[in-house]
């Protein structure tokens, strides 16, 4: 599998999930940064940055959808993968409608993440 997306920004209020995801990507040799809230991501990563964002829906203050809207407003140019531990069905639709590149339910395997990333990369190069 070709990994085009070489830089990941993880935004999740769950410290242990975020850290573990970063660790997994790092083990793969992929650069990844972790942010505990939407605001700290916006503060640290300017819109011109490349990479791929993995954003959790359920976060206090600014949730995943709010961040997605803000990124669109601020013209961030990076694919966003929305992740959630929540079981409700309309989250996926809502994520895609909000402009997310992909949707994953926690827990997800490395394989499904990489598959989605590969697909996103293909989409982007086709675009």
């Amino acid at each position: 599998m070709r990994i085009a997306c070489s830089n990941f920004w993880i935004v999740d209020d769950d410290l242990s999930f975020g850290k573990s995801l970063r660790r997994m990507l790092n083990a793969r040799g992929i650069a990844a940064e972790y942010f505990g809230s939407a605001q700290s991501f916006l503060d640290s990563v300017p819109p011109g940055q490349s990479g791929c964002a993995i954003v959790d829906i359920h976060m206090p203050v600014l949730d995943g959808f709010a961040l997605l809207k803000k990124m669109r407003d601020l013209r961030y140019d990076m694919p966003v993968i929305i992740v959630t531990g929540h079981a409700d069905n309309d989250a996926r639709d809502r994520a895609i409608q909000s402009g997310a590149g992909g949707f994953l339910r926690k827990p997800f395997s490395e394989e499904s993440l990489m598959e989605l990333v590969g697909k996103l990369e293909g989409d982007r190069s086709a675009a």
């Binding site: 997994m24 359920h58 531990g85 827990p107």
Partner: protein, 583 residues
């Protein structure tokens, strides 16, 4: 004869008129005559003794009294004796002798009374009590210490007397039989004493048998009454399983008209076939002392219908400890069991409904909570797998990864336990609970629901609120229900504010309120919100609040709702503050 003397007054010894002086002349002649007759009468007496003892063999108890009386008369006639009296001790007062059979001459004019033996015959009684026969061929044989006895003998005009103790098998004295002469003195020869002693023994045995029989009958009657009035089926069953006897209730239980129909019935057939073998095993275990004697079985009536019985068994053992049978007490517990089952079902149903309501509403929240650590575990495991596959991977990273995996697995476990604690059906356990802690714990469960629904949480928890006594899980269910109701009420509302308050009302009352910013409940419906099946929710069962109310009422508390002046509804409950003496 049964007239007890009013006083223990000494009968006047002078009162009986003795005719000894006038008959003294004829006395020797008569004695000689009697002696001449003696040999002939001796043969007659022996024949009579044989006859009497034969008659008493296997004598029905109801004929004992009659036969004794007849024998007394025959002996007196045969031996030329005047009186034969048989006395039995009063069952109420063993010191009192009751004259039960007496043979007296037709012209005898001294009333025979029921007497206090301790007063009338103190000396004789002492000897009889020792099992001795009181032999008095003439009244001068009475020693000085028998003065009182002598006085009484004289009163009755007795010249010679012999009195045998009545006791069975050397047991307790229960009476005495006496033979007396009035008209002459008689020398009680050892042979005569032996023979009369034999008669006394025959009488004693017969009376003893009669008494035992009477006692048995009385006992039997008592037991039979008990047997019949006991509101339970009783059956006595032989070791081979066949019913010896049963009471009416047993017959009624199993659909028979009379207990006689059950005699000879094979008892295992009382129990439904599927449990019959087990019942036999249980009984064997009871005989061997390995089982308690109480069981519950499905039972079968005569018409084949089934019911449930509780059976208590008693092993009947002989003197050698061998099993001689079983006594079973059987109660029909079908109704009790049914009631209990219905109660349990209702309780389970209610709890289950409460659980469904809360589970439904928090399950999304639970999924989120638990998927976080699961996701982290998976990520860490994948990282470890990648590192392991890579040559020269840093082994020190593994301990960190494993540590994190363990932490997250623990977190997942804690979440499950927390939720289970809330949902678990538990017996009410009253304990001291901090009110604010209870509220905060409940809020943790719904925290994600609040975030998901963009609900602003406002807490107004009094810092010094008193503790309450209650069942934590049940009270959390109440709080959860009120909170989820509040969230539902605000579904369509423009502003969503959930308010939780705790306050101390007076010295011993604590109030907890859950307020929402929904549209409120119309006045018309306000009175019925706590009624079962009241609901404004689509698909709602309307049992949540009714369950809340019963939980709060179980805690001797009160639950109510009121309109918030600013819009919305406030549900409150108040509970008694914890007092140390409640513990």
């Amino acid at each position: 004869m049964r007239v007890k003397p009013k006083t223990k007054k000494v009968p006047q010894a002078s009162k009986p008129k003795t005719k000894s002086a006038s008959v003294s002349l004829a006395k020797s002649t008569k004695e000689a005559l009697w002696a001449g007759e003696e040999r002939r009468s001796e043969g007659r007496f022996e024949a009579l003794l044989f006859d009497i003892s034969t008659r008493f063999i296997a004598l029905p108890v109801d004929r004992v009294d009659g036969e004794i009386g007849r024998a007394q008369r025959e002996i007196c006639e045969c031996l030329g004796l005047d009186i034969s009296s048989l006395w039995q001790m009063s069952p109420d007062d063993p010191g009192t002798l009751l004259s039960t059979q007496i043979h007296v001459p037709p012209d005898y004019d001294v009333p025979v009374l029921e007497m206090d033996a301790r007063d009338f015959f103190p000396w004789s009684m002492t000897r009889l009590a020792r099992g001795e026969t009181v032999v008095l061929s003439r009244m001068t044989d009475v020693p000085a210490e028998g003065a009182r006895d002598l006085e009484i003998f004289r009163y009755y005009r007795i010249q010679s007397s012999i009195c045998f103790p009545l006791a069975a098998g050397g047991g307790q004295l229960f009476g005495a039989v006496a033979f007396d002469t009035l008209r002459k003195q008689l020398t009680w020869t050892p042979d005569l004493i032996d023979k009369l002693g034999l008669v006394a023994q025959v009488f004693a045995n017969a009376i003893f048998r009669k008494r035992a029989d009477q006692e048995l009958r009385e006992n039997e009657a008592r037991y039979r009454t008990l047997f019949e009035i006991t509101p339970a089926g009783i059956s006595v069953v032989a070791p081979n399983g066949y019913v010896r006897t049963a009471n009416s209730m047993q017959a009624r239980l199993y659909g028979y008209d009379s207990p006689q129909q059950l005699e000879g019935f094979f008892a295992p057939l009382f129990i439904a076939e599927r449990d019959r073998e087990q019942a036999t095993r249980n009984l064997q275990a009871l005989v061997e002392g390995r089982s308690q004697p109480d069981w519950i079985y499905p039972a079968v009536r005569r018409d084949g219908s089934e019911f449930t019985v509780a059976v208590t068994a008693l092993v009947l053992r002989g003197p050698d400890q061998g099993v001689e049978g079983f006594l079973f007490v059987t109660r029909d517990i079908t109704k009790i069991q049914q009631d209990e089952r219905e109660r349990t079902e209702l309780r389970l149903e209610r709890t289950h409904l409460a659980r469904v309501l809360t589970v439904d509403e928090i399950s999304t929240s639970l999924a989120h909570e638990i998927n976080q650590p699961l996701g982290a575990i998976l990520n860490n495991a994948e990282a470890a797998r990648i590192l392991l596959a890579r040559p020269g991977g840093r082994p020190e990273a593994f301990s960190e990864i494993v540590e994190d995996i363990i932490q997250d697995a623990r977190r997942a476990g804690d979440i499950v336990r927390k939720v289970r604690r809330v949902l678990k059906k538990s017996d009410a356990q009253f304990e001291r609970l901090p009110v604010n802690g209870l509220i905060e714990e409940t809020l943790q469960i719904v925290r994600n629901n609040l975030l998901l629904n963009n609900v602003t949480l406002r807490t107004e928890l009094a810092p010094d609120v008193a503790d309450i006594g209650g069942d934590k899980v049940r009270l959390q269910q109440v709080l959860l229900n009120l909170v989820t109701n509040a969230l539902d009420a605000m579904n369509e509302a423009p502003s969503r504010i959930l308010t939780l308050r705790s306050a101390t009302e007076g010295p011993d009352l604590v109030t907890v309120s859950v307020g929402d910013s929904g549209h409120g409940i119309t006045e018309a419906l306000q009175g019925s919100v706590f009624e079962p099946f009241f609901t404004t929710k689509r698909g709602g069962l309307g049992l949540g609040l009714s369950i809340c109310r019963s939980i709060i009422e179980d805690h001797e508390g009160r639950i109510w709702q009121e309109r918030d002046p600013g819009g919305g509804t406030v549900f409150s409950f108040s509970l008694k503050a914890w007092r140390d003496e409640r513990a």
